[in-house]
Amino acid sequence: MTFVRRPWRLAAEVSALLIALAVAFPLYWMVLSAFKPAGEIQSAEARPWTLSPSLDSFRRVFEQQEFGRYFLNSLVVASIVVIASALIAFLAATAVTRFRFTFRTTLLIMFLVAQMVPVEALTIPLFFLMRDLGQLNTLGSLILPHIAFSLPFAVWMLRGFVKAVPEALEEAAYIDGASRTRFLWQILFPLVFPGLVATSVFSFISTWNDFLFAKSFIISDTSQSTLPMALLVFFKPEENDWGGIMAASTVMTVPVLVFFVLVQRRLVSGLGGAVKD
């Protein structure tokens, strides 16, 4: 936008920085409170800094309730869901973009509609399904539904990426004697990989953040709990342990932040690709 005049641009930049500060403030406060010693958290004045950072809150978090185990559980569930749904969605997206067959459009519309199904509404039947499968109180009860729920969106989003790979490339591969399977995994898969990364952000986050299923399906065996449940332990009826809550929140947020920063560029271009298409 070259036609924007200078004073206006300066004003816009200053307000952008102020907004950035305001948006980042809750996260800053979370990390700050996690490092504050207990006395400062409960002091009458809320100072936006601390001169004596302490690890007490983190120590409390990791000593209580096998927090490390919950962290590992969350990580296992999210990784399996991300990998499984990416592979399954890649195959399905290839089918609906590179082939013409009966019911193709119907299927696409079904994927779109499936995306809109409020998964939370299915908690009750899924609870009984998991009970019948003997998966209640196991990580499987979280993995299976999340694979299913991240699929429709992943297929819909990957479609654009698969479509973008030129038809001619496929022809050339076949002329050079490549089999369909070889083309799929050695040529198409690496080319679509950035799209897979962008898509996996969504399945990772929805799985990592899941609170409803974790609360409903893991009812008696707390060794199978995931992070969101561990966080709630620090809410107490008499007085909330804010230091512990903030430390646990920090531990839960950091992996997602790291993941986001790593795929940030691909995410933006991926979204552009999916939406433009």
Partner: protein, 297 residues
């Protein structure tokens, strides 16, 4: 595409589709069927444990639900709350997307990073942090505003307002980033040609950019409607399960409370069916809007 078709694809696409279809059939379609079924049954703790046989109640559960004034109150609260969230998220997201196009790289990066941070924050930790920020005893907001020990979660509207702030904070980045990507995708020549032709800034926005951004705006609007309508975690955590005497219940939390707190699984399922039908109609609108743009599926 002709070339591929000529290769006699036959059953290959179905082979590729098989894993997806199996997973979706088992974990989406079948539970959907079950949801509908349970909503027509008498299904409480007694039936779950096998103490009493399940009986068919027809539309009895729906009659109970629609006869309950609390249901209508919750439905109204859900619709109004979701509408407020969507409106606030979209206007903030679009305004900041336009702002991003007007500034140099450093402030743009700062705003992007802050927004990505908010976006990446899990709903549950976002909720705990915002509750802490507005905590009557130790939160910085009350101290800054000099509100003493005013409790934000005590009143119905202030509790909803607090949840709304958190929801907007964590969902505007998606709108901002997507719309910004959309604006950047508009070729610079088009905008230059328009301004050379003497079009005003407003005219460029209305006649050039808005029509080109329409598909993106439709997508982010529909996504926001869906996300905000079925909100669960924020309400559950921030208002402690639906607020004092259920004043902050929304449909999703209401269904959960009915099913898992009071073991009325059939009533919970009926609420789920109502939610499903409402969101399905939103989806139909989405499809019609996409069709009107002549998008090829």
């Amino acid at each position: 595409m002709n070339a591929t078709a000529r290769r006699g694809s036959g059953w290959t696409p179905w082979l590729y589709l098989a894993p997806a279809l199996v997973v979706l059939a088992g974990l989406l379609v079948y539970p959907l069927y079950q949801l509908g079924l349970i909503s027509f049954l008498e299904y409480t703790q007694a039936q779950v444990s096998g103490g009493e046989p399940t009986t068919f109640k027809g539309l009895g559960n729906y009659a109970t639900l629609f006869g309950d004034p609390q249901f209508w109150q919750v439905l109204l609260a859900t619709v109004v709350f979701a509408a407020a969230c969507v409106l606030a998220t979209l206007s903030l997201g679009c305004a900041l997307a336009v702002l991003l196009t007007r500034i140099r790289a450093v402030p743009r990066l700062a705003l992007m990073m802050a927004a990505l941070g908010a976006w990446a924050t899990p709903a549950i930790t976002g909720s705990t942090v915002w509750v802490f920020l507005f905590d009557p005893d130790f939160g910085p907001v009350n101290k800054l505003l000099g509100l003493g020990d005013h409790s934000w979660t005590y009143g119905r509207y202030s509790a909803f307002a607090l949840v709304l702030l958190e929801v907007v904070w964590c969902s505007f980045p998606f709108v901002m980033v997507t719309v910004y990507a959309g604006i950047r995708a508009i070729p610079a020549e088009v905008l230059e040609a328009a301004s050379l032709d003497g079009a005003s800034r407003w005219r460029i926005w209305r006649s050039v950019m808005a029509p080109m951004l329409r598909p993106i705006l439709v997508v982010v609007t529909i996504q926001s409607v869906i996300w905000d309508f079925k909100i669960f975690t924020q309400i559950y955590v921030m208002t402690n399960g639906g607020g004092i005497a259920g004043q902050n219940l929304v449909l999703n939390v209401y269904a959960y409370q009915k099913a898992f707190a009071s073991s009325q699984y059939s009533l919970g399922s009926a609420i789920g069916v109502v939610m499903l039908l409402i969101l399905l109609s939103v989806t139909l609108v989405h499809l019609r809007l996409l069709r009107r743009q002549g998008e090829e599926l």
